[in-house]
């Protein structure tokens, strides 16, 4: 009989997810500075070193860190997964991933093989360590639901993209970029966006939208089938991409249809939600839904433009959809975790989750982020838009960091005081 997950003791210490969450915006700030100092024509090429570096600062540093932090938190609490040694594994992989990501950035930008080798080792071991422990945690789950199944599949895709990423980094290390490199790069990016991030967001939304917004539940077809259909689409796309490139378009339409359906569903669910309360996280979900629709549509039509707009697709889907959802999640999760942990320790006179983050500042942060994304898109036509957009992006990331540190700072200060109740009897 399994009892795990019902006790707060099963939740990882607050430091485990928070470590990942608070580091994410710092990577965003670095990415913003690199965009600021790079010429827009270089960024138009997806394979330029600068584009690769910026993409990975955002995908590994920002999105990856938030997703890993969320997985280590959500799996034990909502599914009763027992992640082995969460504290030491998360600390080790966190350090390896930081060293690996920064080495990748500076190694690729300066063509420094030593740093690229460190990146290869750091990112490879860091990702494999935490992904393996998450997988082992998932193996202990007794009552599988759609969210946990989706998480397991997305972690499977994460393994594949890490291995492909290591192969490509090895190419840079050994200065041997093979002809397979570009095919693998394409698979790596499509699987990362739709396989890892896309499936994870879809499966987490099955729980999060009804839970945080009292939105209508997803239909059994969505919960039980969609993740498998998308995974099949990704496999088909891989197969066509390697052997019958002319048919890869069909698999793209397959994927696009389901992501468009998801984007529409999110929009409708927010319209039908029973809670009238609207906050910045609702704005983030709504903008994510619009950006996803635009991004997927452009991804399909881009076929006719010989992939001229692929960087714009990345901004729309990577920035507009995935980043928006992640930031929205941070604003919801961090205050709740702080409240939950303090309350469980016996601190009763604490602010509510809404009072922990300045509402006005979070709205300013959202608007700056939105303006920066729109600015990046228009930079394709008007290159003078790039620098101000990069500046808006940097400021939005600084405000985000400030906003999410507020509840954590409160937690640290509060913990130094005596709790209102002695909770040791519950241990």
């Amino acid at each position: 009989m399994e009892l795990q997950g019902l006790s707060t003791d099963q939740a990882p210490p607050l430091s485990v997810p928070i470590r990942f969450f608070t580091t994410a915006p710092l990577f965003g700030i670095i990415a913003g500075f690199i965009i600021f100092f790079t010429d827009s024509s270089i960024l138009m090429n997806r394979y330029s070193v600068e584009s690769i570096v910026i993409t990975h600062l955002l995908t590994i540093g920002f999105l990856g860190f938030i997703m890993l932090g969320s997985l280590t938190q959500m799996l034990p609490v909502l599914a009763g997964a027992k992640i082995p040694k969460p504290q030491s594994i998360s600390m080790t992989s966190y350090t390896l991933l930081i060293v690996g990501s920064l080495s990748m950035v500076f190694g690729l930008l300066n063509d420094n093989d030593t740093l690229t080798t460190i990146a290869f080792l750091g990112l490879g071991s860091g990702f494999l360590l935490i992904l393996t422990s998450i997988m082992l945690g998932i193996k202990t789950v007794k009552h599988f639901n759609a969210t946990v199944k989706g998480m397991a599949i997305s972690v499977g895709f994460a393994f594949s993209i890490v291995v492909m990423g290591m192969y490509m980094l090895y190419g840079y290390m050994s200065n041997d970029i093979s002809s397979a490199h570009f095919i693998i790069a394409n698979i790596h990016s499509v699987w990362a966006i739709f396989g890892f991030a896309g499936i994870l967001i879809i499966s987490v939304s099955f729980q999060v939208l009804p839970m945080f917004y009292v939105a209508p539940k997803f239909k059994p077809f969505c919960k039980n089938r969609v993740v498998y259909i998308i995974s099949t689409g990704l496999m088909l796309w891989l197969f066509f991409n390697i052997y019958f490139d002319e048919y890869a378009f069909l698999a793209k339409i397959w994927l696009a249809l389901f992501f468009l359906a998801f984007a529409t569903t999110v929009w409708i669910k927010f319209n039908k939600r029973k809670r009238p309360v609207s906050d910045v996280t609702v704005w983030y979900w709504r903008s994510a839904s619009v950006f996803l629709m635009l991004g997927v549509f452009l991804w399909i039509t881009d076929e006719y433009f010989k992939h001229e707009y692929i960087v714009m697709v990345a901004i729309l889907i990577g920035g507009g959809f995935i980043l928006s959802v992640m930031i929205g999640m941070l604003y919801k999760i961090i205050p709740f975790l702080v409240w939950f942990h303090l309350n469980a320790m016996g601190y009763m006179s604490i602010p509510t989750t809404v009072e922990m983050i300045d509402k006005k500042l979070s709205k300013i942060q959202f608007l700056l982020f939105l303006v920066s994304l729109i600015g990046f898109i228009f930079s394709f036509y008007y290159s003078e838009f790039l620098k101000p957009s990069a500046l808006f992006f940097i400021i939005s990331m600084i405000i985000l960091e400030y906003n999410i540190i507020q509840p954590i700072w409160f937690y640290i200060q509060k913990k130094k005081t005596k709790p209102d109740f002695d909770m040791s009897m519950f241990k």
Partner: protein, 146 residues
């Protein structure tokens, strides 16, 4: 007759509906929402009592686990009761920010609590109490709220 899981899950949804209507009313006028807040608090507390005084008792008796999941659920009930008291205080003081701050915290706590019960505790209860299911549901149905 409904199973224990079905009965209590339906009751969760009822509380969710009341919560949403209460918040909706409060977003129009805080003072006008007082009766709905009271109704939500009453029904939610009644639900806690169904569990604490009937289902948990039976579960603990059958499994011998008194310090396990039911203990943690009781603890979360007490956290939610404290927040519901804050909701009523906020209404009395006509404090809009406090009301919606508390309702947001209560909602997240309530939803993740429900999820744990529906996905883990209720299936466990069904597994152990299936033979007495009808009797337990009847007892819950006829419980007099204290």
């Amino acid at each position: 007759m409904a199973t224990i899981k079905e009965y209590l899950t339906t009751d969760h949804r009822k509380c969710d509906e009341l919560f949403a209507s209460m918040e909706h009313k409060a977003s129009q006028s805080l003072s006008d929402a007082k009766e709905m807040v009271k109704e939500f608090v009453y029904e939610t507390d009644r639900h806690f009592q169904l569990e604490e005084r009937v289902m948990f008792e039976e579960f603990e008796q059958k499994t011998g686990m008194t310090q396990g999941p039911t203990q943690m659920m009781r603890h979360e009930h007490s956290q939610m009761r404290a927040l519901m008291k804050d909701l009523l205080d906020a209404i009395d003081k006509n404090n809009n920010d406090k009301f919606f701050g508390t309702s947001e915290t209560l909602m997240i706590l309530m939803q993740q609590h429900n999820m744990k019960e529906e996905q883990m505790l209720y299936p466990m209860a069904e597994q152990h109490l299936s033979a007495q299911s009808d009797r337990i549901v009847e007892m819950m149905d006829s419980l007099v709220v204290e």
